[in-house]
Amino acid sequence: MKLGMATREAYGRTLVALGRENPNVVVLDADLAKSTMTKMFADEFPERFFDSGVAEQNMVGMAAGLASCGKIVFASSFAVFLPGRCFDQLRMSVAYSGTNVKLAATHAGITVGEDGASHQAIEDVALIRSLPGIKIIVPADELAAAWATRVAASNDGPFYLRLGRPKSPLIYAGEERFALGKAIELRDGGDATIIANGRMVAEALAAADVCASDGIAVRVLDLHTVEPIDREAIVKAAVETGAIVVAEEHLLNGGTGSAVSQVVVEEYPVPIEFVAIRQCHGQSGDPDGLLRAYGLTAEHIVSAVQKAIARKR
């Protein structure tokens, strides 16, 4: 699969475009502007860029204050610090207050790689999911990330964008119509459904190809929006394919798999298998090696599909 730019880079570029279109767009960072790519915005709009220094809690408060005065505020840091370092600030000043703050967290997931566990946010979706009122988007590639940035800017209220460090495999060709809260069906199939987001969408497509060569027709859904979740697409997958695999670059507890399970269990119970990081911490290593070591590859998805199908009643 061809590599495109990192989702964080698509975010940074889209911010610049938004800055040109709308003088109300303001960007904050916590001393990571070169890494989160907000520097592109800072260079063109220094007046509308505020660095909090290494102080994520204060950054979130400043973001809420700017938003309460009518600004469309993007606040960026690494996903380990945002939400990890400022959860209570997100809870009070953003979620509870309903301020128009867009949290764009980069370097999410295990594919941060060599920096190791301290910098690998594998619990961030669970943390944000626990806060009512924040919409969550986990884009799979550069086009999805650019769309996510725009949709966050144009919809009032808090958003969490989960962005990655490495270059992302290209999933989309530019003709797709993304819609908030609507999963995208990338492959149709009737034997099972793989629901994935972020980096795992590429693995899901590769897994579907392997299954197809074995005569198993697998549906693939890109569940880019985790909140609000696309109940309709999930129930349809349960009803029509009878078995589901959820693949995410995140801990098993509290992430996309949990979100999907809640819908399936409430609406139409079918077997679900999870491709996620079991309860453990990350470690240093190259991103692809880590994906293999932590069970997050197409191969792992294929065996999860087989297990899910075997469990069908």
Binding site: P23, N24, V26, E47, R48, F50, S52, G53, A55, Q57, N58, V60, G61, M62, A63, A64, G65, L66, A67, S68, C69, G70, K71, I72, D88, Q89, R91, M92, S93, Y96, S97, G98, T99, N100, D156, G157
Partner: protein
């Protein structure tokens, strides 16, 4: 249960680029009849104290000590200094008040009701299910509350953001933040202090309700915050120290703060926790304990004369 979601924050306003014809600027008087004398302010302060005691008594829980210590601070701001319009709480040109020590919500509610932001009978519903007056300030249900607070240390950061927005819009409103001394244990206060100093936010004024007590005891025993004034100075703030129950001193300090250029202002206001009710003054337990019906009666008997 549905709370009235009035005054939702985050509603985009028009982009403003020029100071001269900027609708966020101007001298629109909030209250047509700002009290002319400290006698008027004292009368309002007395009334707020009575309301605080009554509403917390009715609620059966709440924080009387830190509400009573901040009465003159909040009265000075809302009834003498701030430019605001109770009939139009979201007027873009308003001065902003952030109660960073959110547990003192009763003093803010009493002042907002007295100023006319909402009917006084709302005060009777404090802390009850479905009430627009939550135990701690909730911006989406209470007109005049700018941001939800109650988890200490966060309001000052929000005030910094508001001040940055004002500067960006070339608006001439001011942002006032009331901070607690116990709250000053929070690291985020000093993150915000550093940022306000760094950005030289001369449209930001902090008032520190320095009553010397926090939940577990006196500041100096629980966690020494001294030297407080020096700390703020070292973070680049203009600092004044006043008696926080003396209107003349408060008003003079607030006027000076308004003239400070190139740096944020902190007014360290020495106060007495539980001020005005003899059996609450300097009593640690009345930080977060409601008076009994009998104690309410006793308190009201003391709160009769200016």
């Amino acid at each position: 249960m549905s709370l009235p979601y009035v005054g939702q924050p985050g509603t985009p306003t028009e982009q403003l680029t020029d100071g001269a014809d900027n609708p966020q600027n101007g001298t629109k008087p909030g209250l047509d009849s700002l009290p002319a004398s400290t006698a008027d302010l004292k009368r309002i302060a007395l009334e707020l104290r009575r309301q605080i005691v009554i509403m917390i008594g009715k609620a059966g829980s709440g924080h009387p000590g830190g509400s009573l210590s901040a009465v003159e601070i909040v009265t000075s701001l809302l009834f003498a200094v701030m430019r605001h319009d109770p009939a139009n709480p979201k007027w873009p040109g308003r001065d902003r008040l952030v109660l960073s020590k959110g547990h003192a919500a009763p003093v803010l509610y009493a002042a907002l009701a007295t100023a006319g932001y909402f009917p006084k009978d709302w005060l009777n519903s404090l802390r009850k299910i479905g009430s627009p007056l939550q135990g701690h300030p909730y911006a989406r249900s209470t007109p005049g509350v700018e941001i939800s607070t109650g988890s200490l240390g966060q309001g000052l950061s929000v005030a910094v953001g508001m001040a940055l927005a004002g500067r960006l819009d070339r608006a001439d409103y001011r942002v006032y933040a009331v901070v607690g001394d116990g709250e000053s244990d929070e690291g985020q206060i000093w993150e915000a202090a550093m940022a306000a100093g760094h950005y030289r936010l001369d449209n930001l004024v902090g008032i520190l309700d320095y009553n010397g007590l926090q939940i577990d005891g006196p500041n100096r025993e629980v966690m020494n915050v001294e030297p407080l004034a020096d700390k703020w100075r070292s973070f680049g703030w203009h600092v004044q120290e006043v008696d926080g129950h003396d209107f003349a001193q408060l008003l003079s300090a607030l006027a000076t703060a308004a003239d400070v250029k190139g740096q944020p202002s902190m007014i360290v206001a020495r106060t007495t926790k539980g001020k005005g009710v003899s059996f609450m003054e300097n009593v640690v337990d009345f930080h977060g304990k409601a008076p009994t019906a009998e104690q309410v009666e006793l308190a009201l008997r003391e709160l009769i004369d200016v």
